[in-house]
């Protein structure tokens, strides 16, 4: 279970998160909506432990462990993982080298060739990671790395951006698999927090809840699909769902 209490975060002196409270129980997938610059990615990076994001107040706990003082890799070792939107190129380091290093730590044993085939990454495993990868290839490479890491709480930053509809079906199916959404609700263990603009991913993960983030604060929590439809109609400015309830 992930618990965030009264979290304030600054980046380079600018406050980007202003009192976040959020709980994600095991087995649940929650969705984060919000306009550009509202602090969605900042929240993910803070949870992962990126050092530019300075926590000025509040605490983050995962399975009862206080994350605030932990380094990124220590958080990953606790079972937290991120699906990045714009991962860096590493000159000379091949995708398969990265997968090998990840599996050394996670103990997961995936046949890299077969896994690459399933994700249509055959031609890319011998290439410098993320170098010259298309939008869809970056997503599939992120996904494969997460399968190799097997985190129990996954944060996905716009997993469908830049992906064409045809590939979305495959990607959506694999994300569903990664998050263990295929199994019965009461037996689900893995949890997730997903940022989405297009909402496509909602068709694959039957989310348990959705939030809007505005100006560094969580405005409301509702059923994810209901909230998404409402945002499509009315934008982020006023939430009539809140008024109704």
């Amino acid at each position: 279970m992930l618990e965030i209490k009264d979290l304030y975060v600054s980046i380079y002196g600018t406050e980007v998160l202003k009192g976040i409270n959020l709980t994600i129980p095991d087995g649940e997938t929650h969705i984060l909506f919000g306009p550009n610059g509202s602090g969605k990615t900042s929240l993910l990076m803070t949870l992962m432990g990126y050092p530019q994001y300075k926590i000025t107040q509040g605490e983050i706990k995962y399975n009862g462990v206080l994350l605030n003082p932990l380094a990124i890799n220590e958080r990953a070792a606790l079972g937290i993982g991120v699906f990045f939107q714009r991962p860096p190129i590493i000159k000379g380091m091949k995708l398969k080298d990265v997968l090998t290093e990840i599996m050394k730590k996670s103990g997961v044993d995936i046949n890299i060739e077969k896994g690459a085939e399933a994700l249509k990454l055959n031609g890319l495993i011998g290439r410098d990671i993320n170098s010259g990868f298309s939008g869809g290839e970056i997503k599939r490479s992120e996904l494969m790395q997460l399968f190799a890491q097997n985190p129990h709480f996954v944060m996905l930053d716009e997993p469908e951006s830049g992906v064409d509809l045809e590939n979305m079906v495959m990607l959506g199916g694999k994300i569903r698999m990664l998050l263990g959404r295929g199994i019965k609700k009461e037996e689900r263990k893995k949890s997730a927090l997903i940022i989405t603009h297009t909402g496509y991913v909602l068709d694959y993960v039957d989310a348990d809840a959705g939030y809007t983030l505005l100006n560094g604060k969580i405005q409301c929590k509702h059923d994810a699909m209901l909230l998404f439809k409402h945002i499509q109609k009315h934008g982020f400015t006023e939430c009539e769902l809140c008024r109704e309830t």
């Binding site: 890799n73 990953a76 991962p87 590493i90 000379g92």
Partner: protein, 370 residues
């Protein structure tokens, strides 16, 4: 070790292994081993390839004198003069027309006597449509404190021939190394140089020159170097594109662990219709070292395609954090990135050999804590 073909002292075995010199000759077409100032072993199994010590070769084929000191000027500097006046040995290789050697030929220049000055002159001739890969492992014994190596190598690559010339260096703190190489490439010929060095040297200085004299000739220089504290690597490559449709590529990856790397590259187009590219990347692992990238492009012609890229910096924080987010601790992430940066794939070796070189690189890296 299964049945050594080449007898060596047991205490030297590890070092020779590390630089890819197989004393059982497994996977090699032949061998040349020079210890200190003497030839220790000469063998050649490949038909159509002749290999002799340079002194024997000059006795047997006096006409070879015509090829000696033609590409390298004996008066170039005090080191070439020294090697000219007192050549101890070296190898002569001739690959006959149409012969393509499947296995690489291996040569090793080994320093084991303290304060030894090794002076070498090699002559390589590929006739037309010939192919060979020469692997040079040059090293100082683990117990050697001080020494020097001067190596003159003149290479002639005939029409449509291909010479791959790989050098792995593993010297010691007080060893000075001054190779002086030059290569002449005829029409349709290809010369590929691979240079790998990751450990101590006092100074290793070289600036080989390739002359692309025939139409469509190609030269590639690939360098992977890491300079530990106290060492100086002054490395460069020069290519003269003297004929149309010639092509030159210089790629270098340098890492400073407190030592100095000077990465020079000079591409000179003396003909229109040529392509030349230079790429130079440097990683600074600590303060206190130096990386100096000096690319030069030069031509008098309008119709040329010449470019260079150079970038120097520390290991990118974003890359480290990315790997950390997958559960890899910081120090291991840095090692993996540096190890990837020293990318064997750049060398364009056949797969089996790439794996082998990767292994040697790994050993050298681990000894440097990477």
């Amino acid at each position: 070790m299964q049945g050594d073909v080449i007898k060596i002292e047991e205490k030297d075995r590890q070092k020779m292994d590390d630089i890819g010199f197989n004393t059982d000759e497994a996977g090699r077409s032949g061998s040349f081993l020079m210890e200190n100032d003497k030839v220790h072993h000469v063998s050649m199994k490949q038909e159509g390839v002749e290999m002799l010590s340079i002194k024997d070769a000059l006795v047997k084929y006096p006409e070879l004198n015509e090829r000696m000191w033609k590409l390298v000027d004996k008066d170039k500097d005090e080191y070439t003069k020294d090697a000219y006046e007192d050549t101890q040995s070296g190898y002569f290789i001739r690959v006959k027309s149409g012969v393509k050697a499947f296995f690489p030929f291996q040569a090793c220049f080994f320093l084991k006597k303290d304060k030894i000055k090794q002076k070498v002159h090699n002559l390589i001739i590929l006739e037309d449509n010939a192919e060979i890969h020469i692997m040079n492992g040059c090293a100082a014994a683990s117990y050697l404190a001080e020494g020097s190596h001067i190596g003159i190598t003149e290479m002639y690559v005939g029409k449509n021939s291909k010479l791959m010339y790989t050098m792995i260096h593993d010297w010691a703190k007080d060893v000075t190394v001054r190779p002086r190489s030059a290569i002449k490439v005829e029409e349709g010929g290809t010369y590929i140089s691979n240079y790998i060095a990751l450990r101590d040297t006092k100074i290793t200085q070289m600036y080989p020159a390739a002359y692309l004299d025939g139409k469509g000739a190609v030269a590639k220089f690939n360098t992977l170097v890491m300079a530990p504290e106290g060492s100086v690597y002054d490395l460069g490559s020069r290519v003269f594109l003297n004929a149309p449709e010639t092509r030159a590529e210089i790629t270098s990856r340098s890492v400073s662990k407190g030592g100095a790397v000077i990465a020079r590259g000079h591409l000179k187009a003396n003909s229109p219709g040529v392509f030349a590219h230079l790429e130079c990347d440097g990683l600074m692992l600590t303060d206190g070292g130096v990386i100096s990238a000096i690319p030069e492009l030069e031509t008098k012609y309008a119709d040329v395609n010449m470019s260079h890229e150079a970038a120097i910096g520390k290991v990118d924080e974003e890359q480290i954090l990315y790997l950390m987010s997958r559960g890899i601790p910081k120090n291991e992430a840095v090692s993996a990135i540096v190890s990837g940066f020293m990318d064997v794939k750049l060398l364009g070796l056949p797969p089996a050999l790439e794996e082998e070189i990767k292994k040697h690189l790994k050993v050298l890296e681990e000894s440097e804590g990477i």
